[in-house]
Amino acid sequence: MGSLRKLIRFLQPYWKLILLSPLLMLVEVAMDLVQPRLMQRIVDVGIARLHMAVVVRTGLLMVGLALVGFLGGAGNTVFAVEVSQGFGADLRRELFRKVQSLSFGNLDDLGTGQLVTRLTNDVTQVQESVLIMLRILVRAPLMLTGSIFMAVITSPKLSFLLLILGPLVVMVLAWAFKRANPLFTGVQSRLDRLNTVMQENLAGIRLIRAFVRKDHEIHRFGEVNDNLMDQTIRAVRTLAVVMPFMMLALNLGIVGVIWFGGLQVMKGTLKAGQIMAFVNYILHMLFSLIMVSMLLIRVSRAEASAGRIMEILNKEPEVTDRPDAVDIFSPRGKVVFEHVCFNYNGNSQGLRDINFTVEPGQTVAIIGATGSGKSSLVHLLPRFYDATEGRVMIDGVDVRDIKQESLRKHISITLQEAILFSGTIRENICYGRPEATEEEIIEAARAAQAHEFITEFPAGYDTVLGERGINLSGGQKQRLALARAIITKPSILILDDSTSAVDIETEANIHDALIKFIKGCTCFIITQRLGTVLRADKILVLDNGTVTNEGTHQELLILSPIYREIYESQLGNGANFV
C-alpha cells in the first residue's frame, strides 16, 4: 500500500469528514451488533419466562436501534462520497497541473497515451478505493472484531471454537491469494497479447486483405484467445476455493456451536438464546471476511494505479525558469548557437558542438537525413529542451535566462504533426492569440493558403472540427497549424517539416505569401524539398548531430559533399516530385 499512502496528503483538506465518517459507521455497526443480543433477551427472558412485556419492549427497541443505525450508515455514506469525490477532483487537478508544468522531455518519457489513462482511469480507481476504504474497509473490520467480541461476551465457553477457525481461515485466504496473484498477472499479459493482435489486424487490414491472410490471422487470433481463456479459467478456479472454504469453516463453527452448545444446554449452563446469538455473530464474521477479502483485491488494483499516479506527481519538470529569469520584449531575432551540445537519454537525436549565427530577418533552411537532429536543434530555441552544453542566444541573451512564457510568446513553431483542437476553425487559428481580430485571422489564413478551403465549408471560419465536426485532410490541418503559428506575428518562426502533406504548388504559394506576411521575422525551415531550400538565405547541413556545413546553395554545392550528395540524389535519382 506504499503508493496509496503517499496520496494521503490529498485527503488532508477533508480530515474532519474523514474522522467523522468512521464514527458514524461505528454507530451503524454497533446497532447491528446489538440486535442478536436483544434477540437473545427475547428468547431467554421473554419466551422462556413467558414475559410478553419483555418481548414487546425489546422488539420495539430493536426497531428503534435499527433506525439509529441507519442514520449512522447514511451519514457515513454522505461523508464518504463527499470525501472521495473531493479527493478525486483534487487529485485530477493536481495531475493536470503537473502535466502542464512538464517539459517535452518528460512528455517523451511518459507518452501521451499513458498520461491520458492515468488522468482518467487511474484516478477513478484510486478514488473508488478511497470510497471503499471509508465505508467497507471501516465497516468490515469493525464488524469482524465487534462480532468476535460480542460472541465472546455471549458465551465465553464457546469462544474456543473461534480460536480454531480463525487461523484456519486466514491461512487458506493467504494461500489462495498468493497462488492467484501470479496467475492473474499471467492473465493480464495474455490479454495484452490479444489486444496487440487485434490492434495489428485493424491497422494492417489492407495488407491482410491484399495478401489474403484472413484465415491465417483468424487462426493466430484463435490461439492467443485460447491461451487467454485457459489462463483465466486457471486463475478463477484457484480463487474459487476461497468462498466455499470460508463457508465451510463458518458452517463447521455453527455445527460446533450446536454440538458443544447443545451439551451445555443439556447441563443447564447455557441458554438457547445464547446459542442463537452466537450463531448470528458467526454469520456476521463470515460476511465481514468475505467483504474484506474481495475488497482487498480491489484496493490492490488501486495500489497499482496509485503507483502510476505517483510516478507523474514525482516528475520534476526538466526545463524550469531560473529565479532571476527575465522577460524579453519584441526581440529583433538574432540567433546564435555557441558550442551547443544536447543529449537526451538516447530518445531524441543528440547534438554535438553546434555553432552558427542567424541575423534578424534571415531565413535558414535546415536539411539532413532523418535522425540527423534537425528537430532537436530547433526545439532548443523555445526551450522545449535545454542544451546540455554551450548556449543558445536570442539578441545576445541566453534563452535559459528568459522566462519560458515570454520566450514562447515571441517564437512560433509548427510541429511535425499538425495537432488541432476540437472547436471552430477560428478558435484554432487564434489559439496563440485569442484577441486576434477577424481581419488578422483571415489575413493569416490567406497567407497559409487556408482561406480558400475554409470558406468552402458552409460554416466557414465557424466550422467545428473534431469528433463531432468535420475531419480535415493532412494538408488542410497543416495549413491551419501554419495560420495558427503566424497569426502571433512572432519574431522567430520555426517550420518543422510543416508542409509535407501540402502539394508542391500550394507549398510554393505558401512560401511566397509568408515572406510578405512575416516580414522581418527570423525564420527556420526544416524541409525535405529542394525547392524550399533554394529560397533560404542560409542553409545548414546536419549530419549525425553536427552542422557539417553552412552557406548558400552555391557555396554548399562546392563545399559540402553531403549537400551535393543529397542534391544529386534528389535531382538525378529520387527527387520528391509530388
Binding site: 447514511a74 491520458v116 465505508r135 484467445n225 438464546g273 483542437f421 511566397d512
Partner: protein
C-alpha cells in the same frame, strides 16, 4: 451486502483482466436489454451441458444451504430442550455433512461456471474477430480504430466479468429467494408473512432510489465524458499548448469541468450508495420483526424457539441475495450495454460474398483495363469520374497528381477494397467483380507507404508474403530486397522480434522488409505507393535498387513521388479531380506545357539559377 453499489462500472471481486478500463464515459444502459440478453443467450446455449450442470449445482447448493438453519432449528427444539444426546449427535453429524456438501457444490459450480463464462467470451471474441475480417473497408475506414478496439476488448471483457460473477449470483439469489419463501411458509405460515414483508419493502425502496440514481448517473456520465475528452485532447496536444503558452488557460478550463463532474458525481453516488445503509436497515427490521413477532407468538404458543432460530438465520443469510439482486442490476445493465455495442459490429453488413461459381484468377499476364470507371466513397460525391486507361503486360504506370486527386482510390478499386459504382475493371480481359476476391488479390502485390509489420520475428514478417516459404526462400527474398545486410546486423538477425508496428526499425528498413515480402509473394501485378517521408541517402539507394528488381517483368502501378520513377515509367497518368487529365511519357508531357509541366516546375519555382536549366534541357541524367 453493502459494498459496490458505487459501481456503475460494475464488477467487484476478482480481477479478470482490466475490468474497469475504458468503461468511462460510455452509455450505461442497453437500448434493448432483451435483445442483448438473447444474443448472449445464443452463446450460452453452446455451453448447454456445462450450464445445466451449473444450474443443477446452484440448485443443490441452495437446497443444502437451506437445510442448515432448518436442522439447527430442529436441534434446538427437539434435542436441546429435551436433552437427547444421541439425537444431538446425529443431527450435528448431519449438519457437518450438509456443510461439506454445500462447500463442494459451491466450489464445483464456480469452477464450471468459470469455464462457461470464458468459453462464451472466447467464442464472442473469435466471432467478432472473424467478422472484422469480412467487414467492408468502408466501415473500418470510417470508424476510429480506438473505438473498434474498445468494443473488441473492453466491452467483451465486461461481458466476461458479468458472466463470471453476476449471473450465478443472480440465479443463486433468485433460487434462494424462492427456497427461503417456500421453506418459511412451510415452517410457520404466520411468522413467514411477518418476515417476508421485507421483500416488497426492499423492492419498493430499490425502485424508488433507482429512478433517482439513473438520472444522476446519466448526468455524471455525460460530464465525465466531456472531461475525459478534454483531457485526451489537451494531453495529446500538450506540445502545442506549451508552444503557445496556454497552460494556465487549459488549467482553468479543466478545473471548471472537473468541479462540474465532482458536483454531479457526488449527487449520483449519494443516491446510489444510500441503498447500502437502507438495505441494512431493512435487514435489521426483518430481524427485529422475526425476533419480536416470533417471541410474541412463542409466548402465545404459536411458534417454537427452534423455528425462530431457523427464521433468524434465514433472514440473515438470505436477505443478502435480495440486496445483491438489487445491486447487480446496475452492473448487468452496463455489461448488456457493452454487449449491445459488440453485437452492433456483428450485425454490420459483411462484404458481399463471391458468387458460388466465381472463377479463380490464374497466373496473370498483367493486362489491366479501367473502362469508364465511376466511384465515390459517398454516393453523392464521386471521387473517380469516368476513369479510363489501359496497362499492357509488364508496363510501369506512374500515377501522378496532387494530394486528394484520387490516386489511392484507384489502388483501392483495383484491389477490390471498394467496389466501383459503374464502368468496368478487367485483368487479362476478365471483369474483376466476377472473380473470386482472394484469387484476385493473390495476383496483386502491394507495397504501401506505411509498412505494416506484425509483432513477430523478422523472418515471420517476410514470410507473411508466402506462408509456406521455407527459411532459405525468405532469406533469398531479403537478399534481393537489399534487406539481408541490415537484418543480419540486428541483435538476433532474422529472429529479432519486432516491436508493435515495427517501432524498432527505421522507416527505410521497414520499407525494405515490405519489398522483401512482396518479392516472396511473387505477384503478377504490383501496386506501389512510394513513400513521401524522407529516408537517408544510402537506404534510399538500396530501396531504389530493390524496387527495380521487384518491378521487373510485372505490370506495375506506382503512386509516384520520385522523379526517377516518373521519368522511367512507360506511361505517366496525371490525375486531378478523379480523371486522367494528361497521359504520356515524361518528354511528351513536358512538351505539352500543361498541368504536368506546371507541377514539375513548381518544385523549383523561385530560384532562378536553378529553374532556368530545367526548362532548357527538360531532362537531366
Amino acid at each position: 451486502m453493502t459494498w459496490n453499489k458505487s459501481s456503475h462500472q460494475g464488477n467487484f471481486g476478482f480481477p479478470i483482466g482490466p475490468g474497469a478500463h475504458g468503461m468511462i464515459g460510455r452509455g450505461q444502459k442497453a437500448k434493448d436489454t432483451r435483445a442483448a440478453m438473447r444474443r448472449v443467450g445464443v452463446y450460452l446455449k453452446r455451453q448447454q451441458i456445462r450450464l445445466m450442470a451449473v444450474v443443477f449445482l446452484l440448485g443443490a447448493t441452495t437446497g443444502f444451504a437451506l437445510l442448515g438453519p432448518f436442522l439447527m432449528g430442529r436441534a434446538i427444539d427437539e434435542y436441546f430442550i429435551i436433552g437427547n444426546l444421541k439425537g444431538l449427535a446425529r443431527i450435528s453429524l448431519l449438519m457437518l455433512l450438509v456443510s461439506v456438501i454445500t462447500a463442494l457444490t459451491t466450489w464445483l459450480q464456480t469452477s464450471v461456471m468459470a469455464g462457461v463464462a470464458q468459453r462464451v467470451v472466447r467464442d464472442i471474441r473469435n466471432d467478432l474477430f472473424a467478422k472484422v475480417h469480412t467487414l467492408p473497408l468502408r466501415f473500418i475506414d470510417r470508424h476510429p480504430h480506438g473505438e473498434l478496439m474498445s468494443r473488441l476488448s473492453n466491452d467483451v471483457e465486461n461481458i466476461s466479468v458479468i458472466l463470471n460473477e453476476s449471473v450465478t449470483q443472480l440465479i443463486a439469489g433468485v433460487l434462494a429467494l424462492i427456497g427461503v419463501t417456500v421453506t418459511m411458509l412451510c415452517l410457520n405460515l404466520r411468522l413467514a408473512i411477518v418476515s417476508l414483508f421485507t421483500i416488497p419493502l426492499m423492492v419498493f425502496l430499490t425502485r424508488w432510489i433507482s429512478t433517482h440514481t439513473l438520472e444522476g448517473f446519466r448526468d455524471q456520465q455525460q460530464r465525465l465524458g466531456v472531461l475525459n475528452s478534454f483531457i485526451e485532447e489537451t494531453v495529446t496536444g500538450e506540445r502545442v499548448v506549451k508552444a503557445y503558452g496556454r497552460e494556465q488557460d487549459m488549467l482553468e478550463d479543466f478545473e471548471r469541468l472537473n468541479r462540474n463532474l465532482q458536483a454531479a458525481a457526488g449527487k449520483a453516488q449519494i443516491y446510489a450508495l444510500i441503498l447500502g445503509p437502507l438495505t441494512n436497515l431493512v435487514n435489521n427490521l426483518g430481524f427485529a420483526a422475526v425476533a419480536g413477532a416470533g417471541g410474541w407468538m412463542a409466548v402465545k404458543g404459536l411458534a417454537t424457539i427452534g423455528t425462530i432460530a431457523s427464521f433468524l438465520s434465514y433472514s440473515q443469510q438470505f436477505g443478502r441475495p435480495l440486496n445483491q439482486v438489487a445491486h447487480l442490476y446496475n452492473a448487468v445493465q452496463s455489461a448488456l450495454a457493452g454487449a449491445e455495442r459488440v453485437f452492433e459490429i456483428t450485425d454490420e453488413k459483411s462484404e458481399p460474398a463471391d458468387a458460388p461459381d466465381a472463377p479463380l484468377l490464374q497466373k496473370v499476364r498483367g493486362e489491366v483495363i479501367f473502362n469508364k470507371v465511376w466511384f465515390g466513397y459517398r454516393k453523392d460525391t464521386p471521387v473517380i469520374q469516368g476513369f479510363t486507361m489501359q496497362a499492357k503486360p509488364g508496363q510501369t504506370l506512374a500515377l501522378v497528381g496532387p494530394t486528394g486527386a484520387g490516386k489511392t482510390t484507384i489502388v483501392n478499386l483495383l484491389m477490390r477494397f471498394y467496389d466501383i459504382d459503374s464502368g468496368k475493371i478487367t485483368i487479362d480481359g476478365q471483369d474483376i467483380r466476377n472473380l473470386q476476391k482472394a484469387s484476385l488479390r493473390r495476383q496483386l502485390g502491394i507495397v504501401l507507404q506505411d509498412t505494416f509489420l506484425i509483432s513477430d520475428s523478422v523472418m515471420e514478417n517476410i514470410r507473411y508474403g508466402k506462408l509456406n516459404a521455407n527459411d532459405q526462400e525468405v532469406i533469398a527474398a531479403a537478399e534481393l530486397a537489399n534487406a539481408d545486410q541490415f537484418i543480419r546486423r540486428l541483435p538476433k538477425g532474422y529472429h529479432t522480434i519486432l516491436s508493435e508496428r515495427g517501432g524498432n526499425l527505421s522507416q527505410g528498413q521497414r520499407q525494405l522488409l515490405a519489398i522483401a515480402r512482396a518479392i516472396l509473394a511473387d505477384p503478377g501485378i504490383l501496386i506501389l505507393d512510394e513513400a513521401t517521408s524522407s529516408v537517408d541517402t544510402r537506404t534510399e539507394i538500396h530501396i531504389q535498387q530493390a524496387l527495380l528488381r521487384l518491378m521487373q517483368g510485372r505490370t506495375c502501378f506506382v503512386i509516384a513521388h520520385r522523379l526517377s520513377t516518373i521519368r522511367n515509367a512507360d506511361q505517366i497518368l496525371v490525375i486531378n479531380g478523379g480523371r486522367i487529365i494528361e497521359q504520356g511519357n515524361h518528354q511528351n508531357l513536358l512538351a505539352l506545357r500543361g498541368f504536368y509541366c506546371r507541377l514539375y516546375m513548381s518544385q523549383f519555382k523561385g530560384h532562378r539559377d536553378f529553374s532556368l536549366p530545367v526548362i532548357d534541357n527538360g531532362n537531366y541524367s
